[in-house]
Amino acid sequence: MSRLVALIASPRSVVFLTAVVFALVIGALNPNFLSVATLIDLLRNSLVTGIFALGVMMVLASGGIDVSFTAVGVFAMYATVSLVLGLDLPMPVVGFFVIAALIGAGLGILNGLLIGVLGLPTLIVTLGTLSFFRGALLTFVGTTYISNVPRNVIAFARTNIVRLENAVGQLVSLPLAFVVLAGVAVVVALMMNVTQFGRKIYAIGGSEEGARRIGIDVGWVKLRIYVIAGGIAGLAGMTHFTLSRMANPFDLVGSELDVIAAVVLGGARITGGHGSVSGALLGALVITMINTSLLSAGVPSYWQKVVVGVLILVGTGLPIAIERFRSQRARLARPA
């Protein structure tokens, strides 16, 4: 019993358990739902959200918030594709990802300078750069779909790690782009937990003044956070490109709140200092599941918003309630 209580006393596990219950309910409505195929489909659909979520998690952990990452992602993706096609370079697939990451990181420098060096508030800065990056993309780079995707990218997109037929005979597959998510996840997890840089991010999120007082160069750490987050957003943009096999400059922007919701569901706090890779990934899976599976179960789409909202409230509220209950019990157990 107490194990169970301990388990649901953290936001992440509450969200996880609710997601499982949720899946069981959908499964009851639609028996085909509970299958390996669904899980794979879910993974595929959450790749882009998941990569974005990792960058956003870093920013939230440092006590900031980033809403510009979708614009960074789409800018990096579209600029990379136009650049490579425009110059007609023979470019390996890895090259696309590297260039997109570099462009994303370059855009991240702007966020980083404004936030880390000038010390401006993160929400204001990234709201501004969201609009600026997107405007610059549409004004200076282009507004047309690019659908003549290079052959090697198509080949990459068609390569699957797993491929299955689901109960109703549709093919589901997990594309090779999954390794991008896995790679970013491993790197970010190591960075956040094993390096002092990652620990400094949490320290700044916990108390910025405190971090400064123990000799942490807060501005420099922040600058690097936004550069890395920008690079990650570039990778997410490029992943999106390979999955959709077309470069659309109007994509991605607009999905910021879903990603931020995913990270918050995964236990990060808007006030900073908390957040983990596993949480961010779990959050991305849950958000994707709600967004796609409700549709497949025939539930009207506006219910998705309700479910996400309830999940955020329960996920953050229940652990607090449990903690109160536990300290009450602990007190009553003490000798009078």
């Binding site: 094993v194 390096t195 620990r199 916990g206 009078a336």
Partner: protein, 498 residues
């Protein structure tokens, strides 16, 4: 003594038009413990922040072991400086172990994080301090006293050559203070130097070898501790003599009981509390940290529920579900941990003072800004809050002046009963007397005061009656006109610490 380890010379600092420090000199040799004394707002914390490179001085130099330091926190740490800040400056979201080890790891310029080593380091330091705190828990889940101990542990973990302690004992029990004194003595023998700030006079004399006194940002006296006694220290700090005796007052005319409790019990916190309080009366609950005094105060203010027993206000039984109901009933509460529970640090001083009594300046649902400002200004004057105006945020005030803002807020409401939990923790001796006099004055206008404190001098100076609380029970009652410090000390400490 040999060549000083630390020399600060000609330090000056102004915040806008406010000159906080002027031409301050201070030195510290290896193995020396120097007390930095001064009233609230005299510039002690500012001087410390300049020393640690957190705040830039306008003029003057800081030299540690022959090396000039600029405005650079990292360089100061590298030179062997560790600071225990007045506000602790911990990371609430990290574990105890990581908090303790972080400073050291940053100082060593590490790239990799080693959790096992963190645990070991934290375990060692906490063991050296004989403190029993689980290094794996998050700091945000711990009470204030533990946070203060962790702030101390962090400074000790960095093998510092100079340790600065800005009011390190405000939340500690007597046993913990004694242990801290032991650690300081041991480190002194190893040649570690200390700069020690405290408003508790007996600590100054038991910890320190030398004293530097600041008044309005100037050094007004410096010398060996033997050259000072409590009276001289008070005089140098404030420029006048500070009285200690019980504040004279006329007896309050007998009135019906306002607050009454019978057999109030909350398991694990306090048991069988029966007390009575009349308008115009000041009762002190004298108890150590952990004696259940805070939980009792919180219960009377509707913040935590009692398990059994009865509270009556004006003869009527009440059961507060929430503190707002206590406020409705005319009760005010000044919390123990004012910095986190009481103040909106980034908001203007004026708004902080009037926020609990907006209705006094409202008509027809609209606020009268001018009347708000006027009331705030009067409160600042009455409580002698040291500030250029009511507009700056509370965060710019010195620690002791922040305490006065909380007091001012509740005084504005003129409650029928005011519960004060440690009303003068961190307040200098001169202001303490002033606040006591203000409280007695407030009380003569009919307010009942319940003072929760561990400061025996305070209880004696302020109260009409003293109730001693030990291990959750009221064990004795004293008349402050006849009681003496030693008797009270014995009564409070019997049954042990905590």
């Amino acid at each position: 003594m040999a060549e000083p380890l630390l020399t600060m010379s000609g330090i000056s600092k102004a915040y806008g038009p406010v000159r906080v420090l002027e031409n301050v000199d201070l030195s510290l040799s290896a193995g020396e413990v120097r007390c930095l004394a001064g009233e609230n707002g005299s510039g002690k914390s500012t001087l410390i922040k300049i020393l640690s490179g957190v705040v830039a001085a306008d003029g003057g130099t800081v030299t540690i072991a022959g090396r000039r330091l600029g405005n650079d926190a990292r360089a100061a740490i590298d030179a062997g400086l560790s600071v225990i800040y007045q506000d602790f400056s911990l990371f609430p979201n990290l574990t105890v172990a990581e908090n303790i080890a972080f400073l050291r790891f940053v100082a060593q310029g590490r790239r990799w994080n080693n959790i096992a080593e963190q645990r070991r380091l934290a375990g060692d330091v906490l063991a050296r301090m004989s403190v029993d705190i689980d290094p794996r828990v998050l700091v945000e889940t711990l009470p204030v006293a533990s946070k203060q101990l962790i702030a101390i542990a962090r400074a000790l973990a960095n093998d510092a050559r100079i340790i600065v302690m800005d009011e390190p004992t405000t939340a500690l029990t007597r046993n913990e203070v004694t242990r801290l004194a032991g650690i300081v003595a041991a480190l002194k023998d190893d040649g570690v130097a200390f700069l020690f700030v405290s408003h508790k006079t007996e600590e100054v004399f038991s910890f320190c070898d030398t004293i530097t006194v600041l008044r309005d940002g100037h050094v007004v006296a410096a010398g060996a501790v033997g050259d000072f006694d409590a009276d001289r220290l008070g005089r140098e700090m404030t420029g006048r003599s500070i009285a200690h005796e019980r504040i004279a007052r006329a007896d309050a005319p007998p009135q019906p009981v306002f607050l009454e409790t019978r057999g109030l019990t909350r398991r694990g916190d306090y048991a069988d509390i029966s007390l009575e309080l009349r308008p115009g009366e000041i009762v002190s609950i004298l108890g150590l940290l952990g004696s259940g005094r805070t939980e009792l105060a919180q219960t009377l203010f509707g913040m935590v529920a009692a398990d059994s027993g009865e509270i009556r206000i004006g003869g009527e039984p009440v059961a507060f579900a929430h503190s707002s109901e206590a406020v409705e009933a005319g009760i005010g509460y000044v919390p123990e941990d004012r910095l986190t529970e009481g103040l909106f640090l980034d908001q203007p001083i004026g708004d902080n003072i009037t926020v609990a009594s907006l209705e006094q300046s409202a008509s027809g649902g609209l606020l009268d800004r001018r009347s708000l400002a006027e009331r705030a200004r009067r409160a600042v004057e009455r409580l002698r809050i040291r500030t250029p105006g009511i507009e700056p945020p509370v965060a710019t005030l010195s620690g002791g002046n922040q305490q006065r803002v909380v007091l001012a807020r509740w005084m504005e409401r003129s409650p029928a009963l005011m519960i004060l939990n440690g009303p003068t923790v961190g307040v200098d001796i001169g202001s303490k007397r002033e606040i006591h006099e203000l409280l007695v004055g407030l009380n003569r206008s009919g307010t009942a005061l319940l003072v929760v404190t561990d400061d025996i001098g305070e209880a004696l100076a302020l109260s009409d009656r003293i109730l001693v609380m030990v291990n959750g029970r009221i064990t004795a009652a004293f008349d402050p006109r006849t009681a003496d410090e030693d008797t009270l000390y014995a009564a409070v400490t019997t049954g042990g610490d905590r």
